[in-house]
Amino acid sequence: MSSAANLLLAPKADDSMVGTHFMSGDHACAEGAIYAGCRFFAGYPITPATEIAEHLAERLPALGGQYIQMEDEIASVAAILGASVAGAKSMTATSGPGFSLMMENLGLGIMMEVPTVIVNVQRGGPSTGLPTSVGQQDMMQARFGSHGDFTSIALSPQSPQEAFDLTVHAFNVAEKLRTPVLLMMDEVVGHMHERVIVPPPGQIPIRSRTRPTVPPAEYRPYKPGPDLVPPMALAGDGYAVRFTSLTHNELGQAVTTYEVQKVLVPRLRDKVLKNREVYERVELYKTEGATTLIVSYGITARSARRAVDLGRAKGHRIGMLRLLSVWPFPAARLLGLKQIRRIVVAEVNMGQVVLEVERLVSGSCPVIHVGTPGGLVPLPETILDACLSKAGGKA
């Protein structure tokens, strides 16, 4: 290798975009990745996520980064995981059909504990469905889509600015918890243009994974620290690491027994569930005094915000719990709102996150779903009607 520094592994902060822009959510996501230090992108073209790849194909080479267009989305996730074990911050972006193909190696990333970011700009499905129209139909796939038991982290932005902010956050969470993070955007947020402010380097703290400090002979690649996250040696660090998709012990040896499984799999869950402060983000909008609560996320939350305002203007006690992090569901934030008597869950699907809300409130108050089968964001009036109607159960 040449003596020149590898800018993929040791990225230089880029200040060329600092300032205020009129920018799409897709481009804002790409810029957020660059801000976070991502210098490796592997992907496959798909509407409505293609603009993320296009923007990074243009931006990364001049930053010493690497864009590569793979043969499919299976290969894309494999490549970003490979890049990450070498030390690069990496990302891919797709939509529903590609997300389905990514489920295989999402599981690999979780099992091997490889930080990376997977973006899904959701469109309507099933199958090829509505390539150019909105959906939020992959939320349960984000939670349960790969085989086996796992606990995923999924974030959902409502605007291009938030696409930028949550992409930076996604990288920080991935690095801190040594796991893939899912950024669940939607077609409207991906394609809409709004004001996006790119802050100067350093304004948002950037996190990098913890590396081992022990000598190689003492290193155990899957021995967790106090936060349940094992320090990560990189390929070429001299640690002769062994990362595997099989059930493994702290040394990375494949041991396919119940005794090892019962230690590993609960730890992979607990390192996510017991570190909620690392990723959990919600917005409480006018929940003070509210007895009816709208739960929403992504583009639908903007419609729900309007519903809250319309209802409040008429004297109704309505508020919103907006989920910036959808998975793991911020249960304590929901259940902490003791005065709520009625919940409306608004999302662009036939009923996904609502199932988790129903499970959590366990019949203690009516939970009403406002959704569409894709292609249309629920209108504010429709959401407000659900807040005010006397009906219980699903709308």
Binding site: A62, A78, A79, A254
Partner: protein, 300 residues
Amino acid sequence: MTATTEPLLKDSGHKGPNGSSSVLHHPYDHLLRAEALPHIWCPGCGIGTAIGALVYGFEHASIPQEKRVIVSGIGCSSRIVYYAKTDAYHTTHGRAIPFATGLKLSNPALCVVVFAGDGDLFAIGGNHFIHAARRNIDLLVVCINNFNYGMTGGQSGPTTPPGALSTTTPYGNPELPFNLPDLASAAGATYVARWTTLDVRRLRMAFAEVLTRRGFRFLEVLAPCPVSFGKTNKIGSGAEEMEYYRALEVLKSRIESTNLIGSEIELGKPIVVGKFVDRTRETFGERYARVAAKAAEAGA
């Protein structure tokens, strides 16, 4: 290249309790994970021979140990990661090549070897193979070809000879197999060779040579699978499958036709072995460096 022959076992210098006998250590002990032994492979299996040859190649090509990376998929040969003392990644079935692609592109200083089986690389992973070859990613891909899926108990695959028996071709294989060297060459590989685990010396020399080359390089290693493929097809034990190779393998250099690349493998028919391709093509990394220079110039 110089053909060096080393004693397999070296006197470690350690004296036994009575002061007279000495403990023998394998010269590659420090390159393997001795604590992981015994290995999982069946008696007569050829995978261990191939790993020995790979380690020999690393040493003779002077690849520093901390720069060696092995990426594998799923199957018998992919278990190499538990025994070779390198950075090692045991990934998903068929996906070793794209994983290795990301790894190599992120740190070009590493020597990245994909080591996997015929089913992994050419059935579920076939698309990744041809695209990595087309792009000319700087990787060595080693295929342990034992003509069947060994780990799952002997099913047919993309290299199973026509008519051969397996647990999923109980009346004989109706499919036609890939000629892997021809496929690799057509897809753009810069180095293509096929050897058997009978030819330990040639195999070691091939590893030593291929690790000094650049670009997408492919080494097919025909390996006995006596417990599964050999038994089912009445080839016999590992030694008898070696004898099968000895009787049927034909060196490419002994054949008149100079443009021959591998051969279709059929039961009882000659198997052409040798080095078929050794050429230079600009790698993806080299081409991308030019793109990056252009981008920097454009002030992008």
